[in-house]
């Protein structure tokens, strides 16, 4: 009885485990220890990255039924943001005041809502009014950007070298010229807030307690904007003066945060109005991914960039074991007779850490419980009194942040280029289909399988001089097999 229950619960795991062990023994024998271990480790590296892309995709799909085609773009943006922050943060520091000013304007919505809704606007003009207000806001933003050398700011990191980073610290626009820009962005934010308050729409509900929170948010963001405006140059320089390892870990955090912020903004502005039209959502997110890719191309040219590894992973020499690496910080580490780059081991560890973190959040936190329940029955969760919309925004931000973290993690060994997101997105979707929509542990297993398949496929292609397409095809073949045997994916919810 017990055994039967365990078998029922874990048969997918057991079969996979047995399959992997058999394949490993065959591989070990046929390939020899060295190439087997090396290939397996490369596979794990890829798998860790696939997991970070797929985890967000699968939870977003499971909870909101949204196929987020802009998820790869989040990966790419994470890579660019992290690379910029690490190499030369002039661009990020130059734009930060503008973004903060815009947000400061938008957060006043709950403050003006009680006034705006009492405004006598006839029903048929309300839509037009909102549209006009938004257009004016966009015009203000364009005017605010006039004359600002955004491309110049973007180019700073392209020429930066690690010899003397400070030599590349580029001067920002003087404050006397710059001050108008955040102000205009703030005004644009206020207009967006006005449109959000839906003037004349009396059916809205005013939430008690929203106004004091809005005041705190407004004051907070205005102060942040002022601080960011004043530290545009000094902030960038102090980041560059920092210990390079610390800067690297900060850039991981910055990349993930920027990704999460952009994710939240996308959910609120673009995805939320379209929940009722799921097919439009596919087109909208796909269109967005094109826009983001082209925008990146415009700013940084379609060239691939290489981000240098932090000193922690780039001291010359080879550590005899992982333990020795902790004191020597060498470029490579010897594992089971194989010399392997230490940075790639870091990626494996990062992926594993993110999986454990996600598992803890999903299984033991209230947010996780809400997400697991919401994946199964959204309406019911809402009927119980949970604000599902807010959970949606959080989950979207979380997924985008995780993908962005994957992007910046990949930046030191994969080329940073506008199309990098698309490749990982495709693999991310395949991972999600294999693992089952809505299951993060499925995403982890799927990512592991795909990563290994790619690595061993590459090895075989090289060995038998086949075309490298073999390894790309292998992932799709796995997906087809899984779909034939289990149409809902390995751990998917059954419809």
């Amino acid at each position: 009885m017990r055994v039967k229950a365990i078998w029922q619960y874990g048969k997918v795991y057991i079969i996979l485990l047995i399959g992997l062990i058999i394949l490993s023994v065959i591989g070990w024998r046929a390939m020899g220890q060295q190439s087997f271990v090396r290939t397996a480790l490369s596979g794990l590296t890829l798998g860790a990255l696939y997991f970070m892309v797929a985890a967000g995709l699968t939870i977003i799909f499971g909870l909101m039924d949204v196929l987020n085609f802009a998820h790869g773009a989040m990966f790419m943006i994470g890579a660019y943001a992290g690379w910029q922050f690490y190499t030369n943060p002039t661009f990020l520091f130059g734009l930060a005041p503008l973004v903060l000013a815009l947000v400061a304007g938008i957060v006043v919505t709950p403050l003006i809502q009680p006034l705006a809704m009492r405004w006598a606007v006839p029903a048929r003009w309300q839509r037009t009014l909102r549209a006009v207000v938004i257009v004016v806001a966009v015009i203000l933003i364009i005017v605010a950007l006039l004359g600002l050398d955004v491309r110049g700011l973007a180019k700073t990191a392209m020429v930066a070298t690690m010899v003397d980073p400070l030599a590349e610290a580029t001067p920002q626009e003087p404050l006397a010229v710059f001050w108008k820009r955040p102000l205009l962005f703030f005004l644009a934010g206020l207009l967006i807030a006005l449109a959000q308050a839906r003037p004349g729409d009396r059916t809205q509900v005013i939430r008690s307690g929203a106004a004091p929170r809005a005041i705190v948010a407004l004051v907070g963001f205005v102060l942040l904007t002022v601080a960011a405006t004043l530290t545009r140059e000094s902030g960038a320089i102090s980041v560059l003066k920092m210990n390079a390892d610390a800067r690297f870990f900060l850039s991981l955090a910055a990349g993930a945060l920027i990704g999460a912020g952009i994710g939240a903004a996308i959910e609120i502005s673009l995805v939320r109005p379209l929940y009722v039209r799921p097919t439009f959502l596919i087109l909208a997110t796909m269109g967005l991914s094109f826009v983001l890719r082209e925008l990146t191309q415009l700013l940084w040219d379609p060239l691939p960039y290489a981000m240098s590894r932090p000193p922690l992973f780039s001291q010359p020499g080879k550590a005899a074991s992982i333990l020795e690496w902790f004191s020597k910080h060498t470029l490579t580490v010897e594992i089971m007779g194989v010399t392997f780059p230490s940075y790639r081991l870091f990626i494996i560890a990062l992926g594993l850490a993110m999986f454990i973190l996600l598992m803890l959040v999903m299984n033991y936190s209230r947010l996780g419980m809400t997400i697991r329940a919401g994946v199964q029955d959204r309406d019911m969760v809402e009927a119980l009194g949970i604000n599902v919309r807010r959970v949606f925004t959080l989950v979207f931000a979380l997924g985008a942040g995780l993908a962005a973290l994957g992007g910046i993690g990949a930046a030191p060994f994969a080329p940073v280029e506008p199309v990098m997101g698309d490749r990982f997105q495709m693999q991310g979707f395949i991972t999600v289909v294999i693992g089952g929509m809505g299951s993060y542990s499925g995403a982890a297993i799927g990512a592991l399988l795909l990563g290994l398949a790619r690595a061993f496929g590459d090895f075989l292609a090289l060995k038998f001089s086949l075309t490298p397409a073999v390894s790309e095809a292998s992932t799709v073949i796995i997906m087809a097999l899984v779909l034939l045997l289990r149409p809902a994916g390995l751990f998917g919810k059954k419809e």
Partner: protein, 266 residues
């Protein structure tokens, strides 16, 4: 049935509700008053608009016209989660439990959804012991003790329905809208569930609104019955009044629908 039920205050009221889907009128000018601490059943044949009426009452859908009042407050345009926080809970016809959560997690979700700790989402869920205690209590009340750590998916069907009531009870709602709570149950299982429903009504300060399409089932436990037919209210009253109502009898005896609506409009 409670003897003084007719004098109790009105807790939930719909005024002239209308819902159109394209050209189809699902709910047509329905007004209904639910009195506090009573069991009010809404019955009618399939397609009578019962579930749509529930969706309008609970905010799941906005009405085309008309308004809903809960405890004297206009809730017509409130989102469902805010209506729930005011004390109006509902179940859905098909699935109401979360199959991949354990029994305890299911009930706890109901308890903590209504709590005031909404912003600290990342705290360990067991930290909130008051929810845990509340959940354990409810599990005992609906007779699921000993199965707390089973996945809800593995419960037998009758127990799933009990769990569903448990989730609602944990939410501490004043008014419960139950959409066909006996659907899919065999006729032997029905009396046990009805008894639990009856206990909920008498033990707490609760009001229950039931949707059913089987009339015999609700006669014995309801204080009031509203009969719906083709989106309209056909008859309203105590079970005795309904049982003796000719219109209702003909509706359930399969009179021609066209005749029936003609009569109802008179």
């Amino acid at each position: 049935m409670a003897p003084e039920a007719e004098e109790r205050e009105i807790i939930l009221e719909a005024r002239n509700l209308r819902k159109e889907f394209g050209g189809l009128v699902a709910v047509d000018d329905v007004s209904i008053q639910i009195r506090a601490r009573t069991l009010h059943s809404i019955i009618g044949p399939n397609g009578a608009g019962k579930t749509t009426l529930f969706n309008l009452l609970s905010g799941t859908m906005p009405p085309t016209r008309g308004s809903v009042f809960f405890k004297g407050r206009d809730i017509t345009h409130l989102p469902p989660h805010r209506i729930a926080h005011l004390g109006l809970g509902r179940t859905f016809q098909i699935t109401n439990i979360f199959p991949n959560l354990t029994v305890l997690e299911n009930v706890r979700l109901g308890a903590q959804a209504m709590g005031r700790h909404n912003l600290r989402l990342l705290t360990h869920s067991d930290k909130y012991t008051q929810y845990l205690d509340q959940a354990e209590q409810v599990i005992a009340q609906v007779g699921l003790r000993g199965r707390e750590h089973m996945l809800a998916a593995n419960l037998p069907h009758g127990d799933k329905r009990k769990l569903e009531l448990g989730i609602m009870l944990a939410g501490n709602f004043e008014v419960l809208l139950l959409d066909e709570p006996t659907a899919g149950m065999s006729s032997e299982q029905v009396p046990a569930l009805l008894e639990i429903i009856h206990n909920i009504l008498t033990s707490g300060n609760r009001t229950i609104v039931l949707v059913e399409h089987r009339m015999d089932m609700v006669m014995s436990i309801s204080d009031f019955i509203t009969v719906m037919h083709q989106g309209r209210v056909l008859a309203e009253g105590t079970p005795r009044e309904i049982a003796s109502n000719e219109l209702v009898q003909s509706a359930y005896l399969g009179a021609l629908y066209g005749d029936l609506t003609a009569q109802a409009e008179k």
